[in-house]
Amino acid sequence: MTVNRRSFIHTASLASLGMFVPIGSVARAADMYTSAALPLDDKASRLRELALNRAKDLGADFADIRFTYTQKLMVGAPQAMDPREHFAVGIKVLVKGYWGFASSSIWVEEQLMNLIDLAFEQASGNAQGPDRYVDLSSFNTHTESGSWVMPVKYDPFERSPYEYFDMVKGAYDFLTKLPWMQQVKLEVNFNKQMKWFGSTNGSRQYQETYLSWGNMSFVKSGETVMIETISPAGMGYELFTDQDLYGMLRRGYDEAASRNGLRRVPLDIGRWPVVVNAVGVAGLVGGTLGSAAELDRVLGFEANAFGSSYINEPESQVGSYEMASPEIQVAYNRDEPGGAATRKWDDEGVSVGRSGTFIKNGVLNTVFTDREMSHYVSDKSKITTGSSSAPDASYPAMVHSANLVLEPRKGGKTWYDLVESMDRGIALKYSGFGADWQLTTGMINGVQAYEVRKGKITGRIYGMGGLFRTSELWKKIGEIGGEASSIRLGFKSTKGEPSRDSHFSVTAPAMIFDEVPIIDSNRK
């Protein structure tokens, strides 16, 4: 079946989607979206039924459909405001055990019928091979219907965009008047997504989610200062208003200035304890533990894309595989207020449930899965469903990690306390890491690294690379920081072909990792 574009354009031209709403002023950010006033709910709901009926008539074993309408707003300093909107509809059909998917930006009936035919064509082409087993029982459960709106304190699209502009412009003026200021970056971002989901098993859902994040950073005397706590979160404007951003910027500036006289010291290669701040630890938790437990990676479905995992036998490893030191406890959830992966239903319409234990006393306790892959693990107590996610309806969903929380030590130390507790080693204020395609080995890059002697920062180190085997890194824990050092960070997880993003949060404290092999990555 093919799409006749000419006839489609003609039809689309005749479609009346709504009336233009005159805007007296940009009192609400929502007024900047020309389609915001359209009757999207009626339209999506009507088209959803037409599409699912058509899929059933054509003989689909299963089908689901998603409509997403996304508003995006970026406001930056000194002068930037970028409102965008994005429509998508995507339908997924199962024919003789094979999947087909088709998506479009256009929400009109004729296009939708064409999409279903295209999805069938895709699935039928693949079904020319031998039978492929898909456990349909997992698709006939989870038949919830309803609506859910992510609770936020301040809907960012209900306020004037100039409020955000004034905020970043004020911060810009404040920072650029300070001496020796470089590379000031200030921007705030807001996303609001409305999603209508339906499937042939009877689910009908409406879900509204928010994602907000910002970038507030500068370089002072060679030191990068960044507000980490405005990383992606399932929040509204309160992500920015409920924090003392000016105070944080000022303290960051003063702290960088205080280290201005630090001498550059040579890097001593060898094995050293390394204090990593909460940002760095959270990155390692998400990238080396959370991603490793995504069942598509575990089973090799990502082998030609972003890689597999050091976990490779989930049936036997869940409940017995020692991923980390017994001191390490990691919980997962998809219901944490403000979590970047917080939802009521995932992108297959499955209820995401509540929280649970991901790593218990260092032992793997579950793996994350979507509906289809769940049948690869017979003991269903070992899997966590509701992990299917896509950035919008234009992409089929994939397995992604839940929000993760690494338990801090009660009343434990801050990053500064951990530095003071160390006789000799390295302290990382900012760091990144890269891991191999199976997440077995990697290297921590000390973006902002310091030499520590007798509990004091004594010099600045350049080019520090900390090699690690994931299993060794998490088993050689020097000390876990306390609640005061723990913060929540939002991360973007990218995987798949074509690659697509999803977000999740990791809450983690600062930590000391022992005996990290240090190399000089700047060596010529």
């Binding site: 002023s25 909107e85 094979y98 087909g100 502009f165 074509p498 190399i519 060596r523 010529k524």
Partner: protein
Amino acid sequence: MRAIDKNSDRVASEDELNSILDKIMSYKTDGGVFDFRVSSYWQGYTRWARNRVGMASNRSYYSVIIARGESKGYWRLCLLNQIDDESLKNAVKYVEWLSKKENREIFPQEFPIKLPPVNDRKANVWNDSTAGYSFFDSGKIVQLTCDWAEKDGLIAAGYIDCTAFSTAYIRSNETTGKVDRGFTRLTRGQCSITAREPKGQGSGWAGKSDIDFQNIDEEVIAKKSFEKCKASLNPVRLEPGRYTAILEPQAVAGLVAELLFADRNTMDRADAELGKTPFSLQPDMASGLGLTKLGLRVFDERISVWHDPSDPELGVVGYVDKYHGMGPVTWVQDGVLTELAHGEVYSVNRLSTENNNKIHRKSFRMSGGTMSIDEMIESTKRGIVVTRFSDAAVTHSGSMSASGMTRDGLWLVENGKITNALRNFRTLESPFFILNSIEELGVPEKVFVNYAGQEEPWLDFGMLIHNFAPQYIVPSLKIKDFSFTSTVDAV
């Protein structure tokens, strides 16, 4: 020859896009500087793993950009992905309203309003077979490769993608007082396959991308990945150190292309003058007028690097829009740095010339030699053959030292012969070191570039189409004293 789907209108034609633009024009109620653009995009793909097809997909999108120019070079704009009358009307009204009512200059798409002349070259970037690729037929081919993998006792995962894109614009031209129209379209196809031994003892990969999918043979790619996988079984551990490295073209692309020539920031002239790139010679942060290495020999004299929109194999989009240059550029000639990238603003302000843009393109061609990989192996006493690198990242911007990992096939060469498969290494090396430590050069060939998932060009006002889905044509290289720093457990 694969059958071409009868449906060749997966993206909108020039006439269809122009009809939408005409509608937008009819909704315009005032004069002034304007720029309207409509794009149409299609992506089809099949993905498989564990020797079974997982998902086949068909994605089809429109994008509309409605922009109105204001004083001081600012633009009021609206981006949407709907093409119905009401949505288009709303968008035009919105932008006009914004221009009249909004006096705060916070929509700073700062592009020069004065337009340079347009040089409308026709480049070879479109292919009907790619735009019409039949994903129904591909199901059979994929199944065939999966059957072969099973017979060989391997597990295969792969991906086939075809993408087509068309875009048209209409805009006012302040210089001529007339209205300009333009249209361009492109296609890209890619196939890659990873074959693994079921217990993770070996891995092989092969892939290719091209404008014309008929130049991509899935069966050849499958067989190559299987051969590499089987040859990589039972790897031995070699001590880290400096070894002669024979880099296959895909490995050269991973370090030299991705980090150096395809990186816009690294190739930028203004950034070099500010001391931000390895091509800076004597930076001057205060004035931004520091010295660069232009005119100096920076690489082995056998190395030249260039792109040309008339190059039928390379497939660089010739005409883009008023903001981007179109002509051929030679970045490196016989090892000498001859150009660094700059746009129209730089040309006018710094060079006092107009229409002399040297716009960075990710796509490029590199000179090479005549040797085959086998001949390089024969002439090597002790060295390592590298299939490709993974996750290469710059660790020091001044020297461009980069850390990466070998993957999907690494072999020890002793006395002119491959003697063992090797465990993978982490490497630490700079493209500058590589291009100044060349012992031998192979025949340049087009390598795989994974464009699927790149930033979507239809979403950007500046139109990223000129850098969407780049193509690299690079040789294999034999490099002396390449640094393999530590072993990697991943297979």
